[in-house]
Symmetry: C2
Subunit: 519 residues, 2 copies
């Protein structure tokens, strides 16, 4: 599993101070080794959608494996905790690790729904408390950006190539790496982030920026000025004069004014084509797409075709991408017909200007800011709630009913209908026997705990299994699970809610607890 | 300077692939060593505000200092670039560093405005091109979150304590560290992030979560059950019976029903108070603030006062913080008067539920999600544009006029009015002599390049200076610069625009370039 070779990134101090103040209070009261269980879940699917993808599990495992305080960590804690803190507590910290902790988790990349317990972390009270912030930090953004990527993939359909290029707008270097990694798992094909390719094996892509184009002023800067045909049969040809010839024919075809064509742009395209004759995909809007960029592109691409190369396409990075891409397609078709160059029919158009989910349907690929920052909802509210201590269920009964928790250790089952679509998740007590295929099951949908529902699954899967598999397997699994999800839950706007329910036992248990809590 | 000891975080592969494909095309054309200059700037102040803070400069310096490709980096690049790439290019990469690069930057934490060139990066064309994405990644989020923090500080006023606690909602571990670091520079006092305290010396704070409270069920779990007075004069007292006495008096005073009080919550508060008698600040809404939390708090706090300790206050984490904090204040006042305990007048209330800029005016401190994710605008669009090559000005003339750049090397001056308020930034050509105090200056406000403005500064400062100073100095400077800024530019909603202008020379130069570009 590739990820497990990534250097450990999460120091045990990367957590909130209150985890330590609580750990000390537990330790002081002699409660630190009491067996405790926390549930991790979120309360709403992001982006107004009907589903989420759970991600970050691998990072959580790595974190747990390496969790141990160094001397310098403990010394720092000593310096920030109150001076009357018992020194023996710091000795206790120095010896902690996660050997007594068990993690049950929904596997990386699983389609999940709000309010389902996704992870159960069990172990000594002080230790599992200390893990809270780090685990939340590792799953919250990973799940959010993975879900965002899956929504872009749904909007784009299965065939178009999607490139993530958000590094410069991410929350710093590591935010950018996390984005590249989990958007790939969520359904993106490529990233511009070279380090992400290096660390995670994600295919990388990229061609040129405007600065490359504007750095050229004249054809004299093109060097070498020759290019050999792809089969190498003939001597290198004078590419400048060849290009001038094609440019003039393109201008005639399109009725363009040669005087408005920018020579520096042509020089930039030519230099790039000489360096990458098989990977020609320039950005064509540094000056004017219609008056210069598209003409220069066609001239150079036609030269490449004449020499047996296959130009790839163009990138558009400003203005109305939808309208421009139609114009550009029209030019490609004209050239293809007029010059009998069928390669021009398969040229691609890449749009990269401020692409959002809504605009994606109109252009081709390349998403930055809206993808990595998750503009529509920049955070996922995963929480970590205590559900059991010393074998006794615990719950929080909040003034805000939505914030109340489901007490006790639980198992989660996904019920599948005869067509293979999952239709209901049921949260049972861990001690209950699992629902069985073909047998009716009574349960209470969350949010309306007083009306029982009877359902008969065609098949039942247990949601929390061994979470380890490779990035490639996870990425494939994401698409497979999204395919089984019924389209009504996948609609990007106003989807039908997927039902998450509690078993009868879980509801009874929660009622008993609520009464205990409220007396 | 503390930051310079932080381990290098930005590997040179953490950039977009197109930087390498462009570098290769430059190298192939023999242009890689041409002297080039890039400007870094953004086009709009974030959050609809009238100003921004520029941050991330230290990280950029660290990045430049350590910029060098290892063998494994170069081997990875070889594996992703086209197979016909000249092998000598990889040898060239292996020897690159930033020794030929100069950075002129607005100092860390400076108040800045849209469209002012904030950094000028000059050096060999291929090298300065390679730096683009990493520099943008380092300044974009740092500046955004620093600006966001400054806005929270403006909304809260200078006196209230502001705690950043967004780690769990940040873009992964390093996103969280960056947030803690730059919100502190922007005006926050404290962070919950222990690693940020460890690495950057930011004061850390935190007390307890709901899970701590809900982990207790009865007073039997309190241990030890005694506490000594702060002066140690008397024997440890039986804190349980002392608390029960105070709780009964508090219930009488407030007309509360003792039957509704949650014993587990009282046990949790007592255990915490025994561990931290000088730092008692519990979260009081795990069950019900009015029926349980506030009563338990008052009882334990009164015990602490009786023993000579000084309780700190309470934390509210759900519901209507504004209304609840008024109710809680009323209870504190009643206790203070009734029991003659003046310490109750200075108890603080900390609000931590989903605090945004707008809600901040009503409660006390503690901001997470909205701060670190910059919900109102989750990215800053800093860009990096080529402005000169081989001593010749370059510009991009876009279809979108807002995307056109100002060509040539420039200096930026800030003009100060007689009251000490900065009132206008002027971008001049680097070769021009600077504006002088008391002398009228003609310039063109950006966005209306055809109407000249004549202004006479009382004082002139040069905006781009040596950028190194410590975090503490930077943090203080932020508040000083914000103080000099006129209130009309500091309004959080609909501020008056600050004028950014071009010198006459810069405009003439841009016109010449535009004509050259457009023929």
């Amino acid at each position: 599993v590739g990820e497990l070779q990534v250097p450990e990134r999460v120091p045990p101090l990367l957590t909130d101070l209150y985890q330590f103040t609580m750990a000390y209070a537990y330790w002081r009261a002699g409660r630190h080794d009491e067996h405790a269980v926390f549930d991790l879940f979120f309360r709403d699917n992001p982006f107004g959608g009907g589903f989420s993808l759970f991600a970050g599990v691998h990072d959580c495992l790595l974190f747990l494996r390496s969790f141990r305080f160094a001397d310098e960590d403990v010394e720092f804690l000593r310096s920030v905790m109150p001076p009357d803190t018992d020194p023996a507590f710091f000795q206790f910290l120095r010896c902690l690790d996660c050997s007594g902790v068990t993690l049950h988790s929904v596997p990386e990349g699983t389609v999940v729904f709000a309010r389902v317990p996704l992870m159960e972390v069990a172990g000594p009270l002080a230790v599992v408390q200390l893990l809270e912030t780090s685990l939340l930090c590792l799953v919250n953004y990973a799940s959010l950006v993975c879900t965002n990527a899956a929504r872009f993939r749904l909007a784009a359909g299965p065939k178009r190539k999607l490139l993530e290029m958000g590094l410069r707008r991410a929350q710093g270097p590591d935010g950018g790496l996390t984005a590249s990694r989990y958007t790939h798992i969520g359904g993106f094909d490529l990233t511009s982030n070279v380090q992400a390719g290096f660390l995670f094996g994600i295919p990388v892509a990229g061609t040129m920026a405007h600065s490359y184009v504007t750095s050229f002023t004249s054809l004299e800067e093109v060097w070498p000025q020759t290019l050999s045909a792809v089969n190498g049969e003939h001597n290198p040809v004078d590419i400048i004069s060849l290009t001038k010839g094609w440019l003039s024919r393109v201008c005639d075809l399109l009725g363009a004014e040669p005087g408005k064509i920018h020579e520096g742009e042509l020089a930039a395209f030519l230099s790039y084509a000489i360096a990458y004759p098989q990977n020609f995909l320039p950005v064509i809007d540094s000056y004017s797409v219609g008056c210069s960029g598209i003409l220069n592109f066609c001239a150079v691409a036609l030269v490449l075709c004449e020499l047996g190369y296959r130009p790839v396409g163009v990138r558009l990075d400003s203005g109305d991408l939808c309208k421009q891409s139609l114009d550009v397609h029209r030019v490609f078709r004209l050239c293809s017909e007029q010059f009998s160059i069928p390669a021009f029919d398969s040229l691609i158009i890449v749009g990269t200007n401020n692409i959002s989910e809504e605009s994606l349907a109109e252009v081709n690929i390349g998403v930055g800011t809206h993808l990595v920052t998750c503009t529509k909802q920049p955070s996922l509210g995963c929480v970590y709630k205590l559900v059991e201590v010393r074998g006794r269920p615990r719950m929080k009964v909040s003034e805000d009913p939505e914030k109340s928790t489901v007490p006790g250790r639980k198992a989660v089952y996904r019920l599948i209908d005869p067509e293979g679509h999952p239709f209901l998740d049921v949260v049972c007590l861990a001690v209950e026997s699992p629902p069985e295929a073909g047998l009716p099951l009574s349960c209470y949908p969350l949010g309306c705990n007083h009306t029982a529902l009877s359902v008969t699954p065609a098949r039942v899967t247990c949601l929390r299994q061994e979470p380890l598999c490779s990035t490639a397997e996870t990425r494939a699994k994401v698409q497979r699970s999204l395919q089984t999800l019924h389209p009504r839950h996948k609609r990007l706007q106003k989807p039908d809610s997927y039902t998450v329910s509690l078993s009868v036992q879980a509801v009874l248990n929660a009622r008993v607890q609520t009464n205990l809590v409220l007396h």
